[in-house]
């Protein structure tokens, strides 16, 4: 589904070179670590060396199947590992950093992956075991500093723990609700010699049981509610994409004719062109999606957290709902913001595939007519302005060239919402962004990882000039490795999203948002050896994109867009779902 790749179902363990009877090989801890990564199917590592992980780098060249990409900042490594994992179902991203500053530079990237449930393994060098706790050179409490942004973390203290810990870490990262895991690896253990024994048996942890099976009674009850529903709506989140439940979702929607909307992170889980498709919901969602949710008598939320971006002002969310149903793999998400009447804790694919046979075909004509009317009344649209390039015009030109063969990695800000709304994502996994943490600077390094996972797809990085500058050092990595990403800078000479908020919600006082002083991106790109172009005219957009797409390698395209272009629809601060303001 995602990409043309066969889906690696967890770890494709290559056969051990040594027969089971041969004595285990003795090697250094660093080698044990690298061998273990191979056993977990790792082929790409994004990393940066330093004093505390030099034994890993000492042995890395001996492992040509572990392709190491030297990033130019550890934050880039974490985001690249995230992009690598996020864009290929089943894959786990891996990044390396040294102790202290190196490890701390990973934190934002780990937090980004944590919020969006992305499986990433970060292996950080640590000072020798005997020096831990002494404030020795480049020591930091990595376990402590990352605790709230990881799913789990390990401090290695014995050579014999290295292989089993790595195996367990991958299991934890990719199972259940996925997430990032840190392995803190003291330098002396990297050098110490031990036996390499990769555990054969699957990981079993009493404190991390497999997700529960859906309760058939609850499923039957959902089927009954669907049968009686007059105005049903489904909202789908990233959980649907993670579990690969898109087909089941489509079937459910078609069988019972239930309109489907989605969260920002759920974009692509349902094809936009489908007659049952709504659009994004909530704060910057489509007016017609919000209207549908607010009028619905049954709302089924699948694989989503239902955060404040979805609900807007909480009491405005789904006020007429009689049956709010929540399906999610994480019990802690059930009832966290809205309390459902009925919930199922399970993997979305499992739950939906068991629910489907219980659902009877039906069609609520009146409701669907109403929805179509709202779609007509509140289309997502933008307003052209003479002499100014609109961001949507750029996105439409991109879409017309690549259709659903391109992956769009968006940054944070206006560019993110434009990219979510103005590309007709018809297949899953074509739109990625930092929806949960909202990390500016995510898209550019993440798009490198995406390209490694999807070498056959066009990869666009859509970003504002503000976000691009947060991690633009990775141009060196891009060019050095000829990573074929097309960078689309939607340059509005300001921190656009903040500027829009200031204009509309903070008395129109523009403060610290002006980015008229930015470097000449063409010269900058060229300084890094990157093909680069710029324009402010609509007629150049197509030819520039054509030239960029024809070029095999990274290209930077700067589009000077209307500096006053805004994101619409939007719900003003503190207002409710139906108070959305549309473009005018």
């Amino acid at each position: 589904m995602i990409g043309a790749h066969p889906q690696p179902d967890s770890a494709p363990a290559p056969p051990l070179e040594t027969p089971a009877t041969a004595p285990p090989r003795r090697m250094t801890g660093a080698q044990i670590c690298l061998e273990s990564l191979l056993r977990e199917g790792v082929d790409t590592i994004f990393g940066y060396p330093g004093g505390a992980n030099l034994y890993l780098y000492r042995w890395l060249p001996d492992y040509p199947n572990l392709h190491h990409i030297l990033v130019r900042h550890e934050q880039g490594a974490a985001h690249a590992a995230d992009g690598y994992a996020r864009s290929r179902r089943g894959a786990v991203g891996v990044c390396f950093a040294t102790s202290g500053p190196g490890a701390l530079n990973l934190v934002t990237g780990l937090g980004t992956a944590f919020m969006d449930s992305v499986p990433v393994i970060a292996i950080t060098g640590q000072v020798p075991v005997s020096a831990i706790g002494t404030d020795s050179f480049q020591e930091s409490d990595v376990i402590g500093s990352t605790m709230s942004v990881v799913k789990h973390s390990y401090l290695l203290t014995r050579v014999e723990d290295i292989a089993p810990t790595i195996k367990e870490a991958f299991h934890v990262a990719r199972s259940g609700r996925p997430g990032p895991v840190v392995i803190d690896f003291p330098k002396d253990l990297q050098a110490a010699v031990g036996e390499f024994n990769y555990p054969e048996e699957p990981v079993r942890m009493r404190s991390f049981p497999p997700p529960p099976q859906p309760d058939p009674n609850q499923l039957r009850e959902i089927a009954r509610i669907i049968k009686e529903a007059k105005r049903p709506v489904i909202l789908s989140g990233r959980g649907v994409l993670i579990s690969g439940a898109e087909q089941e979702l489509l079937e459910l929607s078609h069988r019972a004719h239930i309109p489907v909307g989605w969260t920002l992170l759920g974009t692509g889980a349902f094809p936009l062109q489908d007659p049952m498709a709504l659009q994004m919901v909530g704060f910057m969602g489509a007016g017609y999606t919000n209207k549908a949710v607010c009028d619905a008598d049954v709302v089924i939320m699948i694989g989503m957290r239902c955060d404040d971006r979805v609900t807007t002002r909480l009491d405005s969310f789904a006020p007429r709902v009689e049956h709010l149903i929540h399906i999610d793999i994480d019990p802690a998400e059930i009832g966290k913001s809205v309390v459902p009447h009925l919930s199922v804790v399970a993997d979305a694919k499992t739950a939906l595939s068991r629910l489907l046979p219980m659902v009877e075909p039906k069609r609520e004509h009146e409701w669907l007519t109403q929805i179509d009317q709202w779609k007509e009344e509140h289309p997502i649209h933008y307003v052209r302005r003479e002499g100014f390039l609109q961001p949507q015009e750029v996105l439409e030109a991109m879409y017309s060239r690549c259709k659903d063969e391109a992956i769009v990695v968006a940054d944070v800000g206006q560019n993110q919402i434009w990219a979510a709304l103005w590309f007709n994502y018809a297949k899953p996994g074509l739109f990625l962004n930092s929806g949960g943490l909202g990390t500016m600077g995510y898209a550019f390094p993440a798009s490198m990882g995406v390209k490694f996972s999807n070498p056959d797809r066009t990869v666009f990085c859509v970003t504002g000039e503000g976000g691009f500058m947060m991690n633009m050092q990775e141009m060196a990595t891009m060019v050095e490795n000829n990573i074929d990403v097309k960078v689309i800078i939607l340059n509005n000479a300001s921190l656009g999203m903040v500027r829009q908020f200031q204009d509309d919600f903070y008395d129109g006082v523009r403060s610290a948002v002006d980015l008229t002083f930015t470097p000449d991106f063409v010269k900058l790109g060229e300084a890094f050896g990157m093909k680069a172009m710029t324009t402010r005219r609509l007629e150049d957009v197509g030819p520039m994109l054509d030239e960029a797409l024809a070029h095999k390698g990274p290209v930077l395209l700067n589009f000077d867009i209307d500096p006053d272009a805004n994101v619409y629809p939007i719900v003003p601060l503190g207002k409710g779902m139906l108070d959305f303001v549309e473009a005018s």
Partner: protein
């Protein structure tokens, strides 16, 4: 009545687990009244008994978040189960010879023990429910408390309830009794409204 919820958590006996549990409770904005950690019959498992100062619904969210921690094996909100919950206190009283008899009378009623006596003070050991210990402290105050140390509660569910533990995971997701369900229902929320932050 003590408004705090009593949560019993079985965790892997590994370094850093206390940190993870405490940090999760802090991060979700809950206040710990008391927390005790100790070994169990199984050397690889520790038991934490946590009294948190929250309502039922917030406690449910807290237990679910704790249950997600990889080192947490089981977690039970035992507040509403029949359980035995005790703490231990050591209290050093100002006790010149002329006051000792009076103090000893109270200690006897509370089934406490004298564990140390010096010229003008003594240390009393007392165990029991938090309520009982609170009462004892109040009675001791007039005599002059020099110092005291309390262990925080440890608790076990009674034998006849052991099979009926809540599990804490809320797997059925049923809304807690008395709460208004459904979105749009005023008060359905336990989160702050952060709409509009960028």
């Amino acid at each position: 009545m003590n408004p705090s919820r009593l949560v019993s958590v079985m965790v892997e006996n590994k370094p850093g687990v206390l940190n993870r549990v405490a940090s999760m409770i802090r991060r979700r904005g809950f206040n710990i009244d008391s927390l005790s950690v100790g070994p169990t019959e199984d050397a690889t498992v520790s038991r934490m008994t946590i009294a948190v100062h929250v309502g039922r619904q917030a406690a449910e969210q807290a237990t679910k978040q704790l249950a997600k921690l990889i080192d947490v094996i089981t977690i039970d909100d035992i507040t509403e189960l029949r359980s035995v919950s005790h703490e231990l206190m050591l209290i050093r009283m100002h006790a010149p010879p002329e006051q000792r008899a009076e103090i000893l009378d109270v200690v006897t009623v509370f089934l406490g023990r004298i564990v140390d006596i010096a010229a003008s003070s003594m240390i009393i050991e007392i165990t029991g429910t938090t309520q009982k210990i609170d009462n004892f402290v109040e009675l001791m105050r007039p005599y002059g408390i020099e110092e005291l140390a309390r262990s925080g509660a440890v608790a076990l569910v009674r034998g006849d309830q052991a099979g009926a533990r809540l599990g804490g995971l809320g797997l059925d997701g049923a809304a807690p009794e008395g709460s208004r369900t459904g979105a749009g229902a005023a008060g359905a929320s336990v989160t702050a409204d952060t709409t509009g932050d960028i």
